[in-house]
């Protein structure tokens, strides 16, 4: 396969059958439409390309900036497409809650603006919500924006009407599946595909999946939020069902670990919602049936999202010499020294003074002659063994003498004969009127 441009690699994604041993459905063949294999990593590549396409050359001529309200995949695809044409891209959002996606967008050269939060002292007469202000700024005179408007732009749906939908029918030998299950984000893919499938077979059942209301699944809206989407028409779906984030991650793990499909939580939600729905209806059917769901994007960008909800999945072996291993008694009896004696001790020139605070705080004010090793780094160091010679006495200092006591206990346990914690920390030092310097 040889292409002149990466954009030619958008679409024509595989339709892969899920092993029945995994989903347990006896009469239904379940297929995953692998949109994660699009070149920029998601189903949104199709919409982004269809919404910009020919307009990019024109925009480049006028020096326009591409803007979109997106918290993830659309922004990613648009950032790449804009970059390919030498254009800047800005994403405006209040929904971008996955840090890796933010970082990835910045890496791709996107500009990100986060909308302000709701007012704490609410003014109910204020009708200018942040989105109204956003739209106003787009139409200000002299502004040059290419606003793709994914939630209202019919070219979003069209990408699936001409691409995703027909591809599914072709791969099923010219037939529509009996069920089609998709998550509702911009509603572009579900609306476009549903229309194509119904043209082939009006009996196809379309299930729209939304996020449970108090929950957050990247790329899926709650039912209330879906109503704010111009492309969303409740009539598209035979039923609308909610999935929560635990279920989405459960589905994702099944796809990742048992099917070799490195789907993200959105694809996991689609799989979970599909199997739940199909299990419920399978009893009524004796004939062989088929169902298709969409795997929207990849798992790699959601590690922190998953870690937050399922820390158990990231269990690591315990490391040696960790301050977490200390008993309360060890910490309580850690060798410590008060400010007055510490000053005398330092006066003898014997101890190495180690300040465990951050470099910024250290730069601002510190004990004269001290060395700064921030606690995170110090923890790494001691995993590997004592970082000081046993013959060198050490005075550890932190803000209030709590962390320093832990490390004094730890170093003592590791065999250091003369390590002490500054009791009350740098704050006690300051309160006693002892000198702090900046260099």
């Amino acid at each position: 396969m040889r292409y002149d441009s990466i954009t030619e690699a958008i679409g024509n994604t595989p339709l892969v059958r899920i092993d029945p041993a995994v989903h347990g459905l006896e009469h239904i063949d379940l297929y995953a439409k692998l949109e994660l294999l699009n070149p920029f990593g998601s189903v949104k590549d199709r919409a982004a390309w269809n919404m910009t396409g020919l307009r990019l050359a024109d925009a480049a001529e006028h020096g326009s900036q591409v803007v979109e309200l997106s918290s993830g995949n659309t922004a990613k695809a648009l950032a790449v497409l804009a970059g390919m044409h030498g254009l800047a891209f800005k994403s405006v959002t209040n929904r971008m809650r996955v840090p890796e996606i933010k970082d990835l967008l910045l890496l791709l050269g996107a500009e990100i603006e986060e909308l302000p939060g709701q007012s704490e002292c609410l003014d109910p007469t204020a009708t200018d919500d942040p989105l109204t202000l956003f739209h106003r700024s787009l139409s200000e005179p002299g502004s040059a924006y290419l606003h793709t408007d994914q939630y209202f732009n019919p070219r979003n749906t069209e990408a699936h009407l001409t691409g995703t939908g027909p591809e599914i029918v072709k791969d099923l030998d010219g037939r529509a599946p009996d069920w089609f299950i998709a998550c509702v984000g911009t509603a572009g893919s579900s609306t476009g595909v549903a229309r194509v499938l119904r043209e082939h077979d009006p009996a196809v059942q379309v299930v729209g999946l939304v996020a449970a209301k108090s929950d957050f699944i990247p790329g899926i809206r709650t039912i209330d939020e879906a109503h704010q989407v111009g492309l969303f028409d409740p009539g598209t779906y035979d039923s609308i069902e909610a999935v929560n984030s635990d279920e989405a991650i459960e589905g994702m793990l099944t796809l990742n670990r048992r099917c070799g499909i490195l789907a993200g939580p959105t694809g996991g939600a689609a799989y979970f919602g599909a199997v739940r729905r199909l299990k419920a209806v399978e009893a009524d059917t004796a004939e062989r049936r088929s169902a298709v769901f969409i795997v929207c994007d990849r798992v790699e960008s959601y590690v922190s999202y998953v870690r937050q909800r399922r820390p158990d999945l990231f269990g690591r072996p315990r490391r040696a010499n960790s301050p977490a291993d200390l008993t309360d008694a060890e910490v309580r009896t850690a060798p410590a020294i008060g400010v007055t004696q510490a000053r005398t001790w330092i006066g003898t020139g014997a101890p190495l003074v180690v300040d465990l605070r951050s470099p910024y705080a250290f730069a601002a004010l510190h004990i004269d002659g001290s060395v700064n090793i921030v606690d995170e780094l110090f923890e790494e160091l001691v995993h590997g063994g004592l970082p000081f010679s046993r013959t060198r006495p050490v005075l550890l200092a932190c803000p209030v003498g709590e962390k320093s006591a832990r490390y004094a206990a730890l170093l003592t346990r590791m065999g250091h004969p003369d390590v002490r914690s500054l009791a009350g920390g740098i704050i006690a030092w300051r309160d006693a009127g002892a000198p702090l310097v900046r260099d």
Binding site: E113, G117, C121, D224, H227, S358, P399, I427, R430
Partner: protein
Amino acid sequence: MGGQPLYLAPRLGDRLRSLLASPELLHPLTDALGSPLNVVVPDQLAANLEQFRAVYDRHHLSGQVLFAHKANRSSALLRRLAATDAGVDVASLGELQHALGAGFTPDRITATGPKNPEFLWLAARTSVTVAVDSPAELVQLAMLVRKFALPRACVLFRLAGFETSGVRVLSRRSRFGTPVKEWAGLLDAVERHSDAVEPVGAAYHLDTTSLTEKATALEGCLRVLEECRSRGLRPSTVDIGGGFGVDYLADGEQWERYTTGLTAAVLGTRPPLTWGGHGYGLRNESGTLRGSLALYPAHRPLAGPRYLDGLLGHPAASFDGRPLAALLLEHLYDLRIEPGRALLDQCGLTLAKVLEVREPENGGELLVRLAAKADDVALEEHGVLMDPVVVPRDPKRAAAGPVAVHLFGTLCLETDLITRRTVFLPHRPEPGDLLAFANTAGYCMDFHATRAQRQPVARKVAAWQEDGAWRWCLDDQYWPTTSGGAPGYDMGGAQ
């Protein structure tokens, strides 16, 4: 009644729950003192202070917790707080006089907000800390200090317009504070007037529920204070204002059902849930929902002390992701906070008597008229949707099933609706019953109340528990010595 009743039951702490279960107290009180009537619970304020203190302790932070006085005018609440270690944040001459009279010593008072010369003079005269809004106000203060030979004034600079690198965090424009871009000019002014003013730190107060915006501002303050230190100044304090919020509702599912119901009503797929089909900021444009919900997020588990805890644990991007609490501690700064609403959580309620219950001839919601104006119960003004609790006059009355009602105020004015929402009550109220609006102490009690049409404003009483019973006195009669009686009574909260 059109489907399942969409309740929004208030979250009630032990004290308010016990008070609402005391009709033998509430009915005679309103009969004697009139409707509406505000009840404040000073001991709850001291308990809330402890909750904030516990967050400080967890992060090993020191510094003052200041009560934002503007949230309630009560004397009882202020005097109760004077018996603890808390401070008070005053925003007018009257509030400053009130705080001094309640027993707050100047080291526990900070003057903020727009200031007239009298306010500024009294603040400087009594040596309370002044949060200065602009270089011009700093100069004005310095001139007052010199002209009247006053002691050097301790000042905090109030900053605004914080900026980020990487992801740009947008914030609503504020009319208060000096833009952080212009801090250099402010510092120049501080240095020029160092004979008259002594900088103690930086402050911000952002009107937003967003944690990220506040974290950005706190980082910005740390940067400015770092500059102060490099100029040889010794600032000691970061004041992060308030806005920690309150969780008003008992049940998150009720809030979700209601907001989904409201969305459906605006889209026309279910009967209206409001007077005249009001959408609370939502509107229907050819079947698509537009606008945004202009309501307080009434179910808000991350509020008050927990919000503060979340903010302090937030990583500071420009300091290698170190948590804000660790940075404050390591830089040896005191943390000051100024909660209003959050400190007053569960500290009071507003009682209103039912005057009339009318059944419309064509059916539909009952029309309930109260002896109170909408501005006496300003929950709606703050976008807080929450059900009142019915306190029946006759406790033996047989309870019928749930009803949907509209709550009207007593003004001769079409728009005097206690709420535009259709309220669902578990039982039909009758004339003479009381409707108790819980948790009104923060901003919803006396902030907006007027004497329009020569209607009275609510009287206020303070209530406390003693020997298992509720006692009360007029708000103005309450002093820390009033409750508890015996000498040596443990006021709590004092350190």
